[in-house]
C-alpha cells in the first residue's frame, strides 16, 4: 500500500537512471546505512569483532568477485589469493614506509592487487568458464605458496605470520590489537559504503554495460566495438582492487595477525563464491545480502536451536550448515541464478501492485 511509484514522476533521464528510482527504496537504504553506523553503540564486542567486521570484509570481497563473475562473466576461484595480495601488500607498505597513512596504504594495496589481477586475467582472452576457473585456481595456489616460501613477504618473521602494526587515522587507532572494535568496524563500514556506491556507479554506466555485453554474447559485443581483452582485464583489475582492499582490511581491521592459511580456498575463495551465488550474480546489493547470509547462518545455527530447547552436537551443527549451504547453492544455481536479489525483486514487484495485482 505504501510502496508505490504513483505520484513520483520522473521528469528527466537522470531521475530515471538513479540507483533507487523509487523514493521508499532510497529512504530504506539510507536508514539502513545510518543504522549500521550506530550499531557499535549497543552491539557487544563479540558481535563487532567476530561477526560484523567479518561480514563487512566479506561483503566487500563479494562485491569484487561479483563485478568479475556476475557482471563480466569471468569465473574466478582466486579470491583468496587476491585478498592475500592486498593483506600482505598493506603489511609491507605500512611496515617499510615510515609514516605512511594506513588508509593510503590500504588503497595502494588495492592498486597492487589490481596489477596482479591483470596478470592472472590475461589467460581470459583465450579460455573461458571451467578452464578459466582452473587457471585462477592455479593463481590461488601459486600466490599462497609464494607468500609461504619467500620470507621477504613477512619481513623474514620466522613464525611466518604478518601482524598489523598499530596505525591511526585522525588520531584514532584503527588497526592492530590495541585498536577498539568500534574504530575497526567504522573503518570497514566506511570502506564498504563508499566502494559499494562506486560499484553501483560502474555497473550502470559504460563500463558496466561493456562487461555485461561480454558476459552475455562476446561475439556481438566485439562487433559493436567492445574490445574483449581490454574489457576483461578492466574487470579483473577492478575486481582485484576490491578483493585487495578487503584483504588489507581483513588483516588490519579484523584478524590483526594472519598466516596464508587464512586466505586459502576453503576459508575465502569458496565462501565468497557461495555468497554471490546465493546473494545473486550480477547484483551489488545481492553480494552484501549473500555475505550477511553466509556469515550469519552458522551463528544462527549455534544459537537458535538451544533457544527453542533443542540441543544439537557441535559437529552435527557443522553438518547441518553444510547441508543448508549445499541445498541453497543447488537451488539458486538451477532455479534462480539471480539469487536472493531476484527473489527480493519479485517480492517488490508484488508489493508494488498489492493488494490489487491487476
Amino acid at each position: 500500500m505504501f510502496y508505490r511509484e504513483a505520484g513520483q514522476f520522473k521528469t528527466s533521464y537522470q531521475d530515471d537512471q538513479a540507483i533507487f528510482p523509487i523514493l521508499q527504496d532510497k529512504v530504506a537504504v539510507l536508514a539502513l546505512v545510518a543504522f549500521a553506523y550506530v550499531i557499535p553503540f549497543f552491539a557487544n564486542e563479540y558481535w563487532l569483532q567476530a561477526i560484523l567486521i567479518q561480514f563487512l570484509v566479506f561483503a566487500l570481497a563479494a562485491i569484487g568477485l561479483n563485478l568479475l563473475m556476475g557482471y563480466a562473466g569471468q569465473v574466478s576461484l582466486g579470491t583468496g589469493a587476491f585478498m592475500a595480495v592486498g593483506g600482505y601488500a598493506c603489511y609491507k607498505l605500512t611496515t617499510n614506509i615510515e609514516g605512511m597513512n594506513v588508509i593510503v596504504a590500504i588503497l595502494l594495496s588495492g592498486g597492487i592487487t589490481a596489477a596482479v589481477g591483470i596478470l592472472f586475467g590475461l589467460p581470459s582472452l583465450r579460455i573461458k568458464g571451467f578452464y578459466l576457473a582452473v587457471a585462477t585456481l592455479a593463481a590461488q595456489f601459486f600466490i599462497l605458496w609464494l607468500f609461504n616460501k619467500v620470507g621477504w613477504f613477512v619481513n623474514d618473521n620466522p613464525s611466518g605470520t604478518v601482524t598489523a602494526p598499530p596505525r591511526e587515522v585522525f588520531g584514532v587507532l584503527v588497526s592492530g590489537a590495541q585498536a577498539t572494535p568500534e574504530a575497526r568496524y567504522w573503518t570497514c563500514l566506511t570502506f564498504l559504503v563508499i566502494f559499494a556506491w562506486i560499484a553501483t556507479n560502474l555497473v550502470r554506466g559504460r563500463i558496466g554495460r561493456s562487461w555485461m555485453a561480454i558476459r552475455d554474447m562476446d561475439i556481438a559485443a566485439e562487433i559493436i566495438g567492445i574490445r574483449p581483452l581490454r574489457t576483461k582485464l578492466t574487470a579483473f583489475a577492478i575486481s582485484s582492487f576490491y578483493c585487495g582492499v578487503a584483504g588489507a582490511l581483513m588483516v588490519f581491521c579484523w584478524l590483526g595477525s594472519v598466516e596464508t592459511e587464512a586466505f586459502d580456498l576453503f576459508n575465502v575463495s569458496f565462501p565468497v563464491l557461495f555468497m554471490i551465488i546465493i546473494g545473486g550474480l550480477g547484483s551489488i546489493g545481492g553480494s552484501i545480502l549473500g555475505a550477511a547470509f553466509i556469515v550469519l547462518m552458522p551463528i544462527f545455527l549455534v544459537n537458535f536451536p538451544p533457544m527453542i530447547g533443542i540441543d544439537i552436537a557441535t559437529d552435527f551443527q557443522k553438518h547441518i550448515e553444510e547441508i543448508i549451504f549445499g541445498a541453497l547453492i543447488i537451488f539458486f544455481l538451477i532455479v534462480e541464478p539471480e539469487g536472493f536479489a531476484r527473489l527480493w525483486q519479485i517480492l517488490r514487484e508484488k508489493l508494488r501492485t498489492w493488494p490489487f495485482p491487476y
Binding site: 560502474l202 558476459r215 556481438a220 566495438g225 567492445i226
Partner: protein, 268 residues
C-alpha cells in the same frame, strides 16, 4: 509492402567498399569462391542465394569476424579483411545477426546503450563517481538511445530484459542496437526471417527510413523475394560461394542462371 520505392530521396554515391576476389574455405567447404563486388554510398544492396550459398560468410568477412584466405576487402580506402572485429565498429560498420545476438541479461535500453559505448569517452574515474562529465555524457547518450527507441516504436519495452521479449521484437531491438552506433554501413542478416506480414512491413519501413533519413548504406540478406525486389537498388546473387549475377532487381529477375539456380528451384 510499400510499393514503388526508388532512390529519389537520396543519391547513390561513390564506391565506399570494394570486395575483390574473396575466397573463404572451411576445410573442404568453399563458402566463398572468388567473389568480387562494389558497394556504393547510400545504396541498399541485397545479397540473395539459396541456403548455404555463403551470404552470412560474406558479411562475416566484411566485419572481420572471418578472415578470407584469398582476396581483399577495402572500406573507405582501408583494408578490412585482415582487420580485427572490433575495428569494424570503429570504422562505422554495424550489423545484426541471422540468429539474434542480443545481450540476454540486459534490458532493451541497455542493449541499445551498448551500441553507443564506442562514442562514450569519459574514463574510469568519472564513471566511478557517476557525476559531472560522466553523468552529462551518460544523459546525452541516453537521449540518443531514446531517439532510436522512438524511431523503432519500442518505448513500452524499454526496461524489459530482452530475453523475455517475443522474437519479432528482439529482432527490432537488435536493429536498434546497430542504429544506436550511427553507422555509415549497416549489415542486416535476414532481418525479417520468421516474422509475420505486419512485422515484416514494419521492418521494411524502418530499413527504408534509415536509408532515406540518415543516408546509411545497407547490405541486406533476405529470402523474401518480394521484399528484395521492392527495396533494393542492386542485387547480388550467390550460389555455392560463387557470384552468379549482379544488377538491378529487374536485371537479376530476368537472368536465366538465377532463375535456374535459385528462383525457379526454391520458392518458399
Amino acid at each position: 509492402m510499400p510499393e514503388g520505392h526508388t532512390a529519389q530521396h537520396r543519391q547513390v554515391g561513390d564506391v565506399i567498399m570494394k570486395v575483390e576476389d574473396v575466397s573463404l574455405s572451411f576445410g573442404g567447404v568453399r563458402a566463398l569462391d572468388n567473389v568480387s563486388f562494389d558497394v556504393r554510398e547510400h545504396e541498399i544492396l541485397a545479397i540473395i542465394g539459396p541456403n548455404g550459398a555463403g551470404k552470412s560468410s560474406m558479411l562475416n568477412c566484411i566485419n572481420g569476424f572471418y578472415h578470407p584466405q584469398e582476396g581483399s576487402i577495402y572500406y573507405k580506402g582501408n583494408r578490412r579483411d585482415t582487420a580485427k572485429t572490433f575495428e569494424a565498429a570503429e570504422e562505422g560498420i554495424a550489423r545484426t545477426f541471422q540468429n539474434i545476438a542480443l545481450f540476454k541479461g540486459m534490458s532493451t535500453l541497455d542493449n541499445i546503450m551498448t551500441g553507443r559505448n564506442l562514442k562514450m569517452k569519459k574514463h574510469l574515474f568519472w564513471q566511478a563517481l557517476y557525476f559531472g562529465p560522466a553523468l552529462k555524457e551518460e544523459m546525452e547518450h541516453r537521449a540518443k538511445a531514446e531517439e532510436v527507441i522512438d524511431f523503432l516504436e519500442i518505448e513500452a519495452i524499454r526496461k524489459t530484459p530482452v530475453g523475455r521479449l517475443p522474437y519479432g521484437l528482439q529482432k527490432r531491438v537488435e536493429l536498434g542496437r546497430a542504429l544506436a552506433a550511427e553507422p555509415d554501413l549497416l549489415l542486416l542478416d535476414e532481418p525479417m526471417a520468421g516474422m509475420n506480414y505486419e512485422e515484416k512491413e514494419d521492418m521494411v519501413r524502418y530499413i527504408l527510413d534509415v536509408n532515406d533519413e540518415f543516408g546509411t548504406t545497407i547490405i541486406l540478406i533476405e529470402h523474401d523475394m518480394s521484399v528484395v525486389m521492392d527495396i533494393s537498388d542492386r542485387v547480388i546473387v550467390l550460389d555455392y560461394g560463387k557470384k552468379l549475377a549482379e544488377g538491378t532487381p529487374d536485371e537479376v529477375k530476368g537472368n536465366q542462371d538465377v532463375i535456374d539456380a535459385y528462383l525457379g528451384v526454391s520458392h518458399d
